[in-house]
């Protein structure tokens, strides 16, 4: 089972878990901040709304709902 890091915390998830699901399982509710600082989280879950963007392995604005967890992955929310 892949082990990933979310905001510095190690989390183990089942195979084929999306990063968005892993973030929610870890109890994090704010994936990112809007221009005016409001919290945002996964909404559509199918790669359309872009609300679920997080930084994955240093790459900003990655779609967490369209990315599967890979062992050693580092995820940062804001």
């Amino acid at each position: 089972m892949p082990e990933i890091t979310i905001d510095g915390r190690r989390v183990t998830v089942r195979e084929q878990t999306s990063v968005a699901a892993a973030i929610l399982q870890a109890g994090v509710s704010s994936f990112r901040r809007s221009v005016t600082g409001e919290p945002r989280a996964a909404l559509c879950g199918m790669g359309i709304c872009y609300e679920c963007r997080v930084t994955i392995d240093g790459e900003p604005h990655a779609l967490s709902c369209q990315t599967l967890c890979v062992d050693g992955m580092v995820v940062e929310t804001t």
Binding site: V35, E59, P60, H61
Partner: protein
């Protein structure tokens, strides 16, 4: 800014007026005193950097020359091997739509939305058949200025440009960046050209340009031209290739044969004035244009002479 003495004079006046306004502009205007870096790729362009510095210094504008190492520290995402840059500290960027809304609100003007189809002395004809009368009329219709006044010679040609804006990447770029080769692109009066030009917005978004095309009337994105423009951007800043773009669009600059705007009375049309043809400097020089034209109309001496910009200078 320093194409000619007249362009420099109007730009400097306008920059001072923007600086006066800046302390109480609302956040929406996104006034950002990020400064401009004119980036030199090689030693030949560094000579141009030094020429530019002397030109500015002798006219009271202080700038700073950065060597290759200082440029790397100032903008870590620029590629290796660039020669240096000229930093124009007090240059700023604004978000033009909100700046326009703010300036209109401050003026107390009544805004009417209608399509005008013609200007006569003291009369504007509208598409719906109505007309508006006024003691003074200023034609500020950009590339459409000439069509509103068929009897007046208005030497303005459309010059198409592409722009692209990215998602938010705060800190990726810190200054407005312009390649010195931009001058070659902006100066050529025929054909098409691209130049590296990036502006950071307060949101962390990057506005990426620039392209110039004459004789193209379609507002569509020209994919090969956009590709050329972005290749130029990634030549200078390879990391741009990994950023997400959220929107791209085109616009048309109003270009004149001598690169100076047309500001002043319309020949042969009493009480009508023109303020158009600013090419790529329209936002920057809007305030200076308004000041010198207003002073001229009300009979005051403008802070800089109007003569280089008079619409009938080409006659």
């Amino acid at each position: 800014m320093d194409d000619s003495e007249a362009q420099f004079a109007l730009t400097r006046l306008s920059r001072e007026l923007w600086m006066e306004l800046s302390p109480d502009l609302p956040r929406s205007v996104e006034y950002e005193a990020c400064g401009t870096l004119w980036v030199a790729a090689d030693e030949e362009e560094m000579r141009e950097v030094r020429r530019k510095q002397e030109f500015y210094a002798s006219r009271g504008v202080s700038t700073q020359i950065l060597d290759a190492l200082q440029l790397r520290e100032a903008e870590p995402n620029l590629r290796d091997g660039l020669a240096g840059a000229l930093l124009v500290n007090q240059d700023s960027v604004v978000y033009p739509p909100c700046a326009a809304v703010e300036l209109i609100a401050r003026s107390g003007a009544t805004v009417l939305r209608a399509r005008s189809v013609g200007i006569e002395s003291q009369k504007v004809m509208l598409a719906n058949g109505e007309s508006l009368e006024a003691g003074v009329i200023i034609n500020a219709a950009g590339i459409h200025a000439g069509a509103l006044m068929p009897s007046v010679s208005v030497p303005i040609a459309p010059r198409k440009g592409h722009l692209l804006i990215t998602d938010r990447y705060p800190g990726f770029v810190r200054h407005q960046l312009v390649e010195l080769g931009y001058l070659k692109s902006a100066h050529s009066t025929t054909g098409s050209s691209v130049a590296f030009n990036v502006q950071p917005r307060r949101t962390g978004q990057l506005l990426i340009g620039s392209s110039r095309q004459f004789g193209v009337n379609s507002p569509d994105i020209d994919a090969p031209m956009m590709a050329r423009m972005l290749r130029r951007a990634t030549d200078f800043m390879p990391g741009i290739a990994r950023l997400s773009a959220i929107r791209s669009w085109t616009g048309v600059r109003a270009a004149t044969p001598d690169k100076l705007p047309l500001i002043g009375p319309c020949p042969g049309l009493p009480h009508a004035f023109i303020a158009a043809g600013h090419e790529g400097l329209g936002i920057t020089t809007s305030l200076g244009t308004a000041r010198i034209l207003t002073d001229h109309i009300v009979g005051k001496t403008p802070p800089i002479p109007l003569s280089p910009y008079l619409p009938d200078r080409h006659a």
